[in-house]
């Protein structure tokens, strides 16, 4: 492994660094939302710590060789959070960060949902919810067949668990005992029409996936210690239970009036709304106070 480019799991980075990168993800999300005139910022804010821990501490990849056959795969099944992933990939050197200035403009590689054919570092195109776990299942099966030890990580939205194909894939992953398949649920509690448990209940996520043959951990998805501990504790790719991390998160986390609010799923931020959000994020994440819950 070339240490200059390639990164492997379990990197020794500080929580302060990861928190700084999570802040960077939120601020870039705001900036790109302003370019586009709309963006899924709140469902990206819920995943900022997860993105940061995965890409800056955990996943195995090589920005100089994005198609490296032994890299870990990351499938953003909740493709609408791509606005938070693009800046990470640019920051890591997969492509020139200046390209992001074209976000969503006519002919840009960067849309609201990611396209693997246009963007280095995107392992599969996504956007249609419910597909990503099947994609990851196929990648994990290919890894087994090719005797590679990469893991396949799939980030799922919680509302996405309503999709029937998720359960087809969950059943197959349990059947094939694919421990190399890791699902991370961004359990941010809200879908578009309301709280998941009002719109279409997804709980108990833990028990449902365990019944399908998965090993399930549940953590605070904004706590780096918990995230890193869960990631570091994953079993290697091989024959065993597929693995799930249910990350309890808060939609809109980082901007107080957005937290668990139904009013901020997608849209533009202008004037004081933008400045207030920017300043609040820039000041750093404060302890969560569940006033909106």
């Amino acid at each position: 492994m070339d240490p200059e480019h390639r990164s492997d799991r379990g990197r020794n980075v500080s929580e302060e660094f990861l928190a700084d990168r999570a802040k960077f993800i939120r601020l870039e999300t705001l900036r790109l939302t302003r370019i586009a005139g709309a963006g899924h910022y709140s469902s990206t804010f819920s995943a900022a710590e997860l993105f940061s821990a995965l890409y800056y501490a955990h996943l195995r990849y090589d920005p100089a060789n994005p198609k490296w056959a032994d890299r870990d795969r990351f499938v953003l099944s909740k493709g609408h959070a791509a606005i938070g992933l693009y800046p990470v990939l640019a920051d890591l050197g997969f492509f020139d960060a200046a390209l992001l200035d074209s976000f969503t403009r006519l002919g840009s590689p960067f849309g609201d949902h990611p396209d693997m054919k246009k963007i280095a570092g995107i392992d599969f195109s996504s956007g249609s919810l419910g597909h990503g776990l099947s994609i990851g299942l196929g990648m994990a099966l290919a890894g087994r067949l090719q005797k590679r030890d990469y893991r396949t990580y799939v980030m799922l939205g919680d509302g996405e668990l309503n999709e029937g194909q998720i359960w087809e894939a969950a059943m197959a992953a349990g059947h094939y005992k694919l421990s190399g398949l890791v699902a991370i649920v961004d359990r941010n509690q809200l879908c578009i029409d309301g709280p998941t448990e009002h719109v279409m209940s997804v709980e108990p996520i833990h028990g449902r996936f365990e019944a399908f043959g998965w090993d399930v951990k549940r953590i605070d998805g904004h706590d780096f210690k918990a995230i890193l501990s869960a990631l570091d504790g994953l079993a290697p790719a091989g024959t065993g239970k597929p693995q799930m991390i249910v990350a309890d998160t808060i939609k809109g986390r980082g901007v107080k009036h957005m937290e668990l609010s139904l009013n901020w799923h997608v849209g533009n931020l202008v004037g004081a709304d933008y400045d207030d959000a920017y300043n609040e994020i820039a000041a750093g994440l404060k302890a969560y106070q569940p006033e909106n819950a």
Binding site: K117, G138, A142, Y176
Partner: protein, 349 residues
């Protein structure tokens, strides 16, 4: 890579129901105990197994239809590269796309109605749009499932698949052409929909056509008075019609338009210019399939007499396949009658 003990699934018994011995025994017989030679076109598993002998990228999957598709013939020889996804077609198609993104070339087979129609969105979103080399095999297409009824018929699949960009759409007329399609498909770029009949298709090609090319129609009979452009199951019936009409003094050209997309536009224009009359014949709704594709070409050119023959935008009656083919005039006698009426200028319905 592909030994009996080295499986993509964790356990042989979960991959393929039954022991190796049972597979070997069943292999001598078809599902109903008739000799394999009664099902000439279903060489699918056998041909893929041959290809896979020399190509480690090949993986084959089905959705609980290993017998029906004869993919069990592949499973018997390459158990490590065979996956039965159970009755979960969307997961199969999308997982195949995931495998393809990691360098595999998946061939996934199920009834045409349960892949092309049920899985139209995963085919578009996960296979065609990211240009994954997934080969989607829809067998028992059209009305070939007879009395199983509309749920198991597939008269819309060509229309649906044809509107998906970057998807190759091809129909096999018989076993030898299917072998040619499969061999040519391995390194063909992008995703592909391969439409098959029931596996009892009469022989059109006496041997594997060496000149098979995607997007190049095959002229099986030349003629001056009419061109019948047919695909899949209707190629054989159209040849019989051409022969019958030849006996009546009519000269009929027959084009096997195996590739419905990309369509061989030049062959269509040439037929229009040289014969002045075109009849399309397909086991499909006359809306959206081969007839529509040909119409789109000639609509932009000089006037030509034209008729689409197929199922007239309706759900099929219940009946045994042979009775249905006769009823919808999709057998030799029916196509002959339609072509004769068309040449005579009398209504064909």
């Amino acid at each position: 890579m592909s030994t009996a003990t080295e499986n993509i699934g964790q356990d042989q018994s979960t991959l393929f129901r039954g022991s190796d011995t049972e597979i070997a025994l069943k292999d001598e017989k078809s599902v109903r105990g008739t000799p394999n030679k009664a099902m000439p076109a279903f060489i699918l598993g056998e041909e893929l197994a041959d290809i896979a002998e020399h190509d480690e990228r090949i993986v084959v999957a089905t959705a609980d239809l290993a017998n029906s598709s004869r993919t069990r013939d592949f499973a018997a020889r390459h158990p490590g590269r065979f996956l039965d996804f159970g009755i979960a077609e969307r997961n199969m198609i999308t997982s195949a796309a995931g495998m393809a993104s990691c360098g595999m070339i998946p061939y996934v087979a199920t009834f045409a109605s349960f892949c092309a129609i049920l899985c139209a969105e995963p085919i578009r979103t996960d296979c065609a749009y990211p240009r994954m080399p997934v080969r989607i095999i829809g067998h028992h297409s059209g009305i070939s499932m007879g009395f199983y009824g509309t749920s198991h018929h597939s008269l819309e699949d060509l229309g649906m698949m044809r509107t998906i960009a970057d998807l190759t759409v091809v129909c096999a007329a018989d076993a030898n052409q299917l072998r040619a399609i499969l061999r040519a498909s391995v390194d063909h770029p992008g995703a592909m929909y391969i439409r098959l009949g029931r596996g009892r298709d009469a022989e059109v090609y006496a041997e594997v056509p060496a000149d098979f090319r995607f997007g190049q129609a095959k002229m099986l009979r030349d003629g001056r008075d009419l061109t019948i452009i047919a695909t899949g199951s209707q190629v054989h019936a159209s040849l019989a019609a051409a022969d019958a009409l030849a006996a009546e003094g009519k000269s009929v050209r027959v084009l096997d338009m195996h590739t419905v997309k990309p369509l061989d536009v030049d062959a269509v224009r040439k037929a229009a210019a040289e014969t002045g009359a075109i009849l399309t014949v397909e086991e499909h709704n006359i809306i959206g399939g081969l007839g529509s594709a040909v119409a789109e070409v000639i609509a932009g050119g000089p006037a030509v007499r034209f008729h689409r023959h197929g199922v007239e935008d309706q759900y099929s009656l219940i009946g045994p396949p042979a009775a249905l083919y006769a009823h919808y005039r999709l057998d030799a006698a029916g196509v002959t009658a339609v072509a004769r009426d068309f040449l005579a200028g009398t209504p064909t319905i």
